[in-house]
Symmetry: C2
Subunit: 109 residues, 2 copies
């Protein structure tokens, strides 16, 4: 089928899964890393940096934009993409919530 039964799960589970999906591609990780280390975050640079076609990168950028992790402002003819610090922390906390839930002193197994 290929369709996820979201109605079976909690809002947290669905949201975290949706965000994780955005991280689930090396190109998007690479874009985030590039935006972190670079201050001149222009779309055009990414086509040089990664070896993907312009259309493909634009598509990845849209997915990152849709989760709110990045935002782009039109800078003349090009677009300045950068990480949204508020959302970044929010997403970090969502993951941390799961990771910290495990006490590490499991009595099982």
């Amino acid at each position: 089928m290929g369709v996820t039964k979201t109605d079976l799960f909690t809002d947290y589970q669905n949201e975290l899964a949706k965000i994780a999906k955005v991280f689930a591609h090396p190109a998007r990780i690479a874009i985030l890393e590039y935006l972190i280390q670079s201050d001149t975050c222009i779309n055009g640079d990414l086509v040089q940096e990664l070896g993907l076609a312009q259309a493909t990168i634009s598509q990845h950028l849209r997915e990152l934009k849709e989760t709110g992790l990045i935002k782009g402002s039109i800078e003349g003819v090009s677009v300045c993409y950068c990480i949204d610090p508020i959302r970044w922390t929010e997403v970090q906390n969502l993951f941390q919530g799961l990771f910290d839930g495990f006490p590490k002193i499991s009595g099982c197994c």
Copy 2:
């Protein structure tokens, strides 16, 4: 095409993406949450807990097992699945590495 060009990216980018893919489904989040909160972590319970078919859950468990996040030990006729604390921390650090890379005092935008 649907095939990811892994050769374009670093080992870290590919590994993090692969792990994120495991988190990218609410059922697998739900399984992890259930393993965290429960001490009697039997596969059969999960079929009751989540509303998915046994075959589907078994498949999700395999994906979790393949990344090393959980491990299962045969307990008579049933299987005891639990989280691997070592790998759990490892994965947590992988994500944290990305999140902490962003200084939050972005000079851009």
